[in-house]
């Protein structure tokens, strides 16, 4: 399986659901950025839900890539929501000293999709 194939990218309603594997190697992590940004522009979605529920560790390289990807998605006019971080991963990443910038985080992919749906409804009512 190639690095890019290890990442699942599917369109759910108006967002892209990007699911990372449990223990991605560096080339898989590097592929995240390109896969996510390419799909953003091809699918005309308004944001990205990054599902980290399978992820077993978040080291400084992985965290930096996630933060950078969220920033790039922001530059393209989209929003990133990080979903499903495990308690052990949250504890360890904090002790290591990594942060994900100002990226929004929620407990589950369900929450993330609800949030994305609500924001779209808000936008429509404003028009």
């Amino acid at each position: 399986m190639s690095a890019a194939e290890a990442i699942s990218v599917i369109r759910v309603r108006n967002v892209l659901l990007v699911t990372m594997p449990g223990d991605p190697d560096d080339s898989t992590i590097a592929a995240l950025q390109e896969r996510a940004l390419d799909a953003m522009s091809a699918e005309h979605v308004r944001g990205l839900v990054l599902d980290l529920s399978k992820v077993e560790i978040l080291d400084s390289y992985f965290a930096r890539t996630v933060a950078e990807t969220a920033q790039m998605v922001g530059l393209m006019g989209g929003e990133t929501i990080i979903a499903g971080m495990r308690p052990s991963v949250a504890i360890t990443a904090t002790e290591l000293g990594v942060t994900l910038g100002r990226t929004r985080t929620v407990m589950t992919v369900d929450h993330a999709l609800d949030l994305a749906g609500r924001e779209l409804a808000k936008e429509k009512s404003r028009r």
């Binding site: 223990d23 991605p24 190697d25 560096d26 080339s27 077993e56 560790i57 978040l58 080291d59 400084s60 390289y61 930096r64 308690p87 052990s88 991963v89 504890i91 360890t92 990443a93 002790e95 290591l96 000293g97 990594v98």
Partner: protein, 136 residues
């Protein structure tokens, strides 16, 4: 202190960092470390393994399990023959980096593990040894 079991993983490519993580995850699980302790150990492996690859190009991670009275320990030794570290104390300082990284590898690994020791001299490579203990 008795050495119970040992092994090694060569770190020559970026993919080897993932192999080192997997090997240590397996040993830690066998030793009975919990989920969060295992995540700490494996994260430290990732940071230290990446340092070997980034600064020295290649090296080796040697692991062994230790026994000290009522405590079981996991020792991980990262050896490389790279340029070495000029100032070990400086390298352990938060945010200090010569490699364009975030400078959290060494201080971060120190926080995640129970013990960290660095042997290094310019031109003679670097050996970083970390240990994690668990009460039996």
């Amino acid at each position: 202190m008795n050495i119970q079991d040992r092994g090694e993983v060569k770190i020559e490519t970026e993919a080897d960092i993932a192999l080192a993580r997997r090997a240590v995850r397996e040993v830690a699980a066998k030793m009975g470390f919990g989920i969060t302790e295992t995540a700490r150990i494996v994260t430290a492996v990732s940071e230290l393994g990446r340092n070997v690859h980034k600064y020295a190009g290649s090296g080796v991670m040697r692991w062994c399990t230790l026994r000290n009275g009522e405590n079981a320990g996991l020792e991980l030794r990262f050896e490389d023959y790279g340029p070495g570290i000029d100032d070990v104390n400086e390298a352990l300082r938060e945010g200090y980096s010569t490699g364009g990284g975030l400078g959290m590898g060494l201080p971060g690994a120190k926080r995640l593990m129970d013990q960290l020791d660095i042997q290094s001299a310019p031109g003679h490579g670097t050996t970083v040894t970390v240990r994690k203990w668990r009460r039996l």
